[in-house]
């Protein structure tokens, strides 16, 4: 079989750019200079990191369930991007990413409730992703000018990723809103279900008045404009549903089972290294 050996040898090359960010065998933050994070900066990075981590976890549940293979690839890609963002943000807190992900109880998580809600149908996924990425893109876009250079660099990279997430969600919103009667009906139902979780996205946490942070209230105009444009194109009405502007740290009953699953192997092997 000598004729195959060269092909085989060529496969063991180390430098393939297709391998996803943060999955290599080296530290994803290697080479990034970081000043130690103060308490407020750490708290802020934890919030933004938890949003990405929990949203990614819900996207991971879609693996092998997507309506088409193209969406299978896209959703895994979005989940990977958010997981990558979570990892660098958690690292920026100065604590170990796995301690934070695997050894905290639900009450200690700082994510918005929108990220943790249980999955529904594909319309639910599309609406959640549209709302989440429209909000997060507006946030990261401003955060790229953060007074903390590390956070600014993390945000600048995230902008490119989340712009794609928003685009993906917006395209599906239009296809489903302006598709069949059934898809239109499902989209309206998903909008009604998720809209109560919109106001919390714009409630400022005390740390969000710091110079390294972005005041979420300042994102509302951009959010409203983008959503109005997408929904109009999709022939969908903006839901007339009152929301609940709960503060950060408020959770639904869905978070505990999500964490139970996420942390199950880590907890079953105490003292293990992975």
């Amino acid at each position: 079989m000598n004729d195959d050996d060269n092909v085989y040898a060529a496969l063991t090359e180390d430098n393939d750019a297709r391998w996803a960010f943060g999955t290599g065998f080296s530290d994803p933050l290697a080479g990034v200079e970081m000043a130690p994070a103060g308490e407020d900066l750490a708290a802020y990075c934890l919030m933004l990191g938890d949003d990405a981590l929990i949203m990614s976890q819900r996207l991971q549940e879609w693996v092998a369930r997507a309506p088409e293979l193209e969406d299978e690839v896209a959703l895994a890609n979005i989940g990977l991007d958010l997981l990558g963002q979570a990892r660098v943000l958690l690292a920026r807190t100065g604590r170990d990413e796995d301690d934070l992900a695997y050894r905290r109880a639900a009450a200690e998580f700082r994510n918005v409730r929108l990220a943790e809600l249980p999955n529904g149908d594909f319309a639910h996924l599309v609406v959640r992703l549209l709302v989440f990425s429209t909000w997060r893109l507006a946030l990261l876009d401003r955060l790229a000018a953060s007074a903390d250079p590390t956070l600014a660099a993390i945000a600048a990279k995230g902008v490119k990723e989340v712009a794609y997430h928003r685009d993906y969600a917006a395209r599906w919103t239009v296809r489903l809103g302006d598709g069949t009667d059934e898809s239109h009906r499902r989209m309206r139902r998903a909008l009604d279900e998720l809209w109560p979780y919109v106001p919390e996205l714009f409630v400022a946490d005390p740390v969000e008045s710091e110079p390294f942070a972005v005041d979420p209230a300042s994102l509302r105009d951009e959010f409203d404009q983008v959503i109005a444009h997408v929904l109009e194109t999709a022939t969908l009405p903006i839901p007339d549903v009152a929301g609940d502007p709960a503060p950060r740290g408020t959770h639904t009953s869905a978070l505990e089972p999500l964490l139970e699953e996420m942390q199950s192997v880590a907890r079953a092997f105490p003292e293990a290294t992975w």
Binding site: F25, L53, F122, V174, L176, M262
Partner: protein
């Protein structure tokens, strides 16, 4: 291209391309093989996909999610390669969920612990690489080209699996036990991935004559065993075969006989997870029907407006 032109291309070791004439039996064989391969990638997302939400570190989670995403990507371009032969993806998917087309027997075994993720990378992806590297020179051009990309990514998958196992065997006693347990369960099914023994593989001779296949099942199985034994030693695990030993006379390892009746049962649909795997695929496909219909309806409206 006349039949003799087809033979001529094969004889000169060149590639058959989609618009070339080819014997019906060649076309059918290629459709069956590529579809089966594509189905294997898609069904193969399930046994590992289960562990993505449970991965024990964020780095392992990212690696596994990237790997399973690669598998969806492999499925996509393999279905595209099959479509160059005049079939379509939706029809092939229907045949899969109706049980009219097969996928690799290996994905009908359960994944019972996170060590299985490592062992699948090491043994299952290792066996897949042994099978697929020669297919990079397969006579059907689109398939051969798809295989080059698939093999490159598979080598990452194998590497991450082995690296996970190396980390686990250096960890706690419970981790080492989980690795050995997974090796015990996956070793024989991995050997079965190369198919039945040559004497029971009626299609091999023709596939080799057409240069679709380059080596027989038994040749590839031997190559895999020889490659894997030193890796197992380095890892410090035992391969569950009392007959496994080096044969200096042959220059190869001797090894025991896989349970071919088990392979037949698993291939004919009676493996531990066949029903579950196909049911999951069917559910995803059926639950996505309204989405695909909506996309089609929207595209039609756009087309009418343009």
């Amino acid at each position: 291209m006349s039949p003799s032109a087809f033979e001529d291309v094969i004889a000169r070791d060149q590639r058959i391309e989609p618009r070339d004439e080819m014997p019906d039996a060649y076309r059918k064989t290629m459709v069956r093989q590529i579809a089966q391969h594509a189905h294997s990638e898609i069904i193969g997302m399930q046994p590992e996909g289960y562990w993505i939400t449970r991965a024990p570190s964020l780095r392992r989670k990212a690696i596994l999610l990237a790997k399973v995403q690669d598998e969806a990507g492999h499925g996509l371009y393999l279905y595209a390669a099959a479509e160059t032969l005049g079939v379509d993806r939706a029809d092939l998917t229907q045949r899969l969920i109706d049980g009219r087309q097969k996928y690799s027997s290996i994905f009908n075994y359960p994944t019972l612990s996170y060590a299985d993720v490592g062992v699948i990378g090491w043994l299952v992806d290792g066996a897949a690489i042994c099978n697929q590297v020669p297919l990079c020179r397969s006579s059907y051009g689109p398939y051969a080209r798809a295989m080059i990309r698939v093999c490159k990514e598979e080598s990452f998958h194998q590497r991450q699996g082995y690296e996970l196992l190396m980390t686990m065997v250096r960890g706690t006693a419970a981790q080492r036990a989980a690795v050995q347990d997974a090796v015990d369960r996956w070793w024989w099914p991995s050997l079965m991935m190369f198919g039945p023994p040559d004497a029971d593989s009626p299609n091999t001779a023709r596939s080799m004559a057409w240069k679709i296949k380059r080596h027989t099942n038994d040749e590839l199985r031997q190559r895999f065993v020889d490659m894997t034994v030193p890796q197992a030693e380095f890892l410090g695990v035992t391969l569950p075969d009392p007959e496994l030993r080096w044969n200096a006379g042959r220059g190869h390892h001797d090894f025991g006989t896989p349970d071919w009746d088990e392979l037949k049962r698993v291939i004919s649909g009676d493996g531990p997870c066949n029903a579950e795997r196909v049911a999951n695929r069917r559910r995803a496909h059926e639950e996505g029907a309204w989405v695909r219909e909506a996309a089609t309806a929207h595209a039609r409206k756009k087309g009418a407006a343009a």
